[in-house]
Symmetry: D2
Subunit: 380 residues, 4 copies
């Protein structure tokens, strides 16, 4: 793979590299790691890349890689830039004939996401989106159990994603990530919903198999002086009539990355927390709550296929991330062989999630700005 | 004390009796335990009461007790009937010159609560309301720390109260409590908000010292065939501008009585869960989260005064309940002595909480029925 | 009941009073609360006792109460003094014809315990011992499940009881309890094992239904300058060949009262912790771990009969303690009626536990002082 | 690196490969994956290795690799065979001039470990031992805090390692690992202590900086028909006089891989559990317990240097394993440069841990077989 973004000091670029490397199936062969050519060069060097495969710009990278022999050139591009660059880079990659694995949110705005979908359809190339949390084995187990009807019809979903890292303006000062995420020119129309609310929405839809149909939103810039939201709560309805609440916050001081979901059906409920990802709780009416654990034989084939170590050997965020990369790599392999991807490979968020995520962000902001209570999730 | 309601098979009447008995300061001397005289008689006998102090009706009890000498008659009435009887019994007690300790919600509707407030003011008698959860020592500690400014200005409150006991219609069938709580004639206009949502609202206001100023509500009768709500989520604003979310549910299958609150200020956050009530979490930006525990010397005087056992000897629901009774008993003692109640005795929910609770319930229902997003909390 | 000990400032006397009062079935009618008559008087006054039933000494109390009419005099004596007074007071009570409910350890040494057993047998009176932790509903559930064979034959027991309150000599200085517990004249030959180790041993035998048959002990006075042990670890064998480890410590700084037991059988395991007493974990080989909770319908009749509130309303230490008092009160009632106590009333530690506990303490100390590895638990 | 062992179906070989791959600094270039040449070939193929670098035996691998040019041949050998092969392979590697990274326990018996130490000293080559659990960032933080004296002098250590996977003979039947671990010809004189007890001992010494000086051991073959121990408990003394308990078990049914350590000093205590490795508890006498979390700025430089993701993004077993590989790779780099390894690279268990671990296993078995209580840890 080649990488755009993720130079020195970046967080998510390094995460993508760990995730891609873990299984020994994906090799980083080139990159344009920064819009600053010198910084890109230094980053490539630190990554032991040959100098000629470290590019001064993503345009140069697409152009040059496309000229290399098939067995040698990169097979797909990992995009790990700030949001506003996701679309131009993805478009350039697709135009140049490369598959795309993109960080989320997919684009700067919904309009771009729709354009991107066109482009993916037109080129027939592959597109993956790193909604990481769907990569955890027990998230997959949760989904399987809900879809199999174990809980009965879903009635209620509570998904929350509190963080505290943007609780004060001082935190922004020397934090590169804070700077761009709070800047409407780079992040888009939302900070909190665009960064983490969209993960929560995606997770809720992934696990329940239901689509959000209506929202009532209350977003705010809690810390004085901010343009974009740093906190938001949203009442939800799903296609099947289920109710829900989605909370995302970056000012919940003392919270880390506390994504957590609870789903209640007619007969049972479940709970999963990202910070202790190897435990899945199943709750029943008059039977004891069950604690399911990663790696045990009572789990389904999907969870099992996405697990690397025996039970009791905790897997974490990088392994979840690597599961997405494994799936996407499987798609790429199948593409090259001209066959359909197998079920595991297909299980990676894609262009539809990209569009849906951007639609969610725009809907949340619009609904929050409105005095009307409920707003329908538009069809795209 | 005398008791109205709480005959054979009732839940909350027995709880009031345990709570009143624990400290050896309050004696149950009489009661009208059921609207069925024979059932009242049997209940009184089981409680070792003399037959002549077990009454066939609350009216009879008020009338007869008032004729007894001062040192002998009951000093206050504990009301533990279904909601629709709270007001008539309380009014009769006050008219007859007895203080009142009432289960919540205070009355059948707001109108009655306002009348009750008049009556309390006119008679000059004491009125206590068992918002039990404010009786826990660590809830008091939480309040003290927030009011002392340790967290900085409050910005965000998440209070949730999921239960699962009404998840299916079958559960109702042979459950006396379910029957009256879901019956608009006995429960009032709300089941879930009236039963537990009002606790959550009270707890949020108690700990933060802020009043709810606006709500955006989404209540529902999730289980088919119900008239009253069994689930609801409410977006909140507080007087100081803080945001909040209140969730209450009786259809979250597998949940027990999982009241939980999180408060985030500018500098710190806190978390408390009713099911593990002896732990209070304080969260900080760049310092380790602290786990505070009941009974330890670093706690404040209020928490300490409301604790009976050394740390590590878990206190629970009955002890919290008993704390309200201890406070109310202190008020009664002070009343008899003609002095002001001390600080600890004053720390028991009263008639203002009664009015506020009923106003909250009506507001929640009205807001939920409206297409307008935000609804102001009315002044009464 | 009458009480000996438990005057102003005492911890365990107040706990006994709460426990006895909770259910409204036991009334404190007299007491000799201190060896200091004036202090006894003040304590009795604070407890609203009539002056003539507050005695200057336990001898006076036994003598005088025995002269009162049957319906008026105390029915049993609660003993809550330091250890060295347990036996003389119990003996005096039995000689005077009163049943005894004693705090643990039963006596100052094993010799006294054996004498006490003689006396109990000779008088035919009742004797109860407050091994409080056996009063928790989920401890009873654990026992029931083990005895029913759900886990298969018991193979391994780990019981631990870490506390930190004696971690430094300064802690002793102004702590009345520390003073006598560390004084061989008042506590006997052991501090840590006599105070808490004996609880752990009792709990292990109660839950498993197996008796400790051999020990290998390592006790120590970790804090310099102490005569008695403040920490100890013991390897165990049980009658059926099961292995075990018992750890007790008062110098595990930062620990509260963290009694915890794990039992593993051929097919399943269980875990219970006193600080979160409303949760019982059942563990299985290839099935999810189950979390059982107090008050739920899947629990057995014994746990249910020892529970006062609905699930999710946490019960604690005082409720467990009150369960022992309820059982003992049931024995007293049955005794008066001349009938056998029912099963629930019989479920209270008695004179055999008293002897066994003292034998355990002496064995632990002797084994710790020996270079020989294993020491058999003697028959008495 | 080259690998010996770890062919199809093996657990630990794959773990070593993940760990080595994660950081993109170590490349698997060759291997002898099985004593069955065909199986080795298939395994190498699945790992995308060129056929000529997949060897039929480790002897062949050492011989052939040594003939390759320096820039091309493997730099070190990862040994992931059953125990009885650790020494011969390590010896062959060292004789052929290759550094060794070995799974634990280091050798089949102590005698071999002493020989191995000679060989390491004689060749001047590097030797690393994968006591994985010392690779966790919060284990390193724990060590740093203890060594810095934050807890005061260490007084008490409780380290436990319960597993349940060998709870029944049926489990063995179709479990390759169980087969060799319970076979004295392949595993050595101990199953449980050799497999996991030695990890626990290593962890206790790593965190406290104290060496075990005496043991009193009770090992057993709990499941009928076994030759080697499947459970054991050991009383400990450390060099500084601290007391301890070490428990290891493979028959604690329902437990996964629940390594957990508690250390108590004069002023404070700490607790860490492998199954929730991103939390470290610090406990204090009269101050709230603190919950430290991976990735936060209050942690020391060592923990921080061994962390890959921001706080709240859980790291797990593979990341801990990779930390050992990163350290060892740093040693190899420094070796090649002829400089001393930096502090981080030096922080990997080595030949002294290898000898100490084997001595611990032999001591535990000997002490368990003896009627004498205490046995000194011999100097080697």
């Amino acid at each position: 793979m080649g990488m755009v973004g993720g130079g020195e000091g970046a967080f998510i670029g390094q995460v993508h590299r760990y995730a891609a490397a873990l299984d020994g199936e994906i090799e980083l062969v080139c990159g344009a790691f920064s819009s600053d050519p010198e910084k890109s060069r230094r980053s490539g060097e630190a990554l032991h890349l040959p100098a000629e495969r470290v590019y001064a710009s993503y345009q140069q990278m697409m152009q040059h890689e496309a000229t290399l022999p098939a067995g040698e050139r990169m097979q797909f591009v990992a995009i790990v830039t700030p949001n506003h660059m996701h679309f131009p880079v993805a478009a350039a990659a697709l135009h140049a004939g490369f598959h795309v694995m993109s960080d989320k949110p997919a684009t700067f705005d919904l309009q771009q996401a729709l354009q991107l979908r066109e482009l993916v359809r037109d080129t027939g190339l592959l597109y993956g989106l790193t909604h990481t949390y769907t990569g955890y084995p027990l998230v997959k187990e949760a989904r399987d159990r809900v879809l199999a009807g174990e809980l009965g019809a879903v009635r209620k979903v509570v998904v929350e994603y509190p963080q505290g890292w943007l609780a004060s303006r001082e935190d922004e000062a020397d934090n590169k990530q804070a700077a761009w995420r709070l800047d409407p020119q780079q992040a888009g129309i939302s900070c909190c919903m665009g960064d983490i609310g969209v993960h929560a929405a995606n997770l809720a839809e992934y696990i329940t198999g239901q689509k959000i149909s209506r929202v009532c939103a209350d977003l705010g810039a809690v810390v004085a002086g901010r343009t974009l939201d740093d906190d938001g709560s949203i009442l939800l309805r799903f296609d099947n009539g289920a109710r829900g609440v989605l909370m995302a916050s970056q000012i919940s001081v003392g919270e880390e990355n506390a994504l957590r979901i609870r789903v209640y059906g007619e007969r049972g409920g479940l709970e999963w927390s990202q910070q202790e990802p190897n435990t899945l709780w199943l709750k029943w009416h008059d039977q004891p709550t069950q604690m399911l654990r990663t790696g045990l034989p009572y789990l389904g084939v999907v969870a099992t296929a996405n697990t690397r170590t025996p039970n009791g050997h905790p897997e974490g965020y990088l392994e979840a991330f690597a599961n997405l990369y494994m799936a996407f790599a499987g798609q790429v392999r199948a593409f090259e062989l001209g066959v359909d991807a197998d079920e595991r490979s297909a299980d990676c968020p894609g262009i539809d999630d990209a569009v849906r995520g951007m639609a969610f962000i725009e809907l949340a902001v619009a609904a929050s700005n409105s005095d009307v209570k409920w707003h329908a999730f538009p069809q795209h």
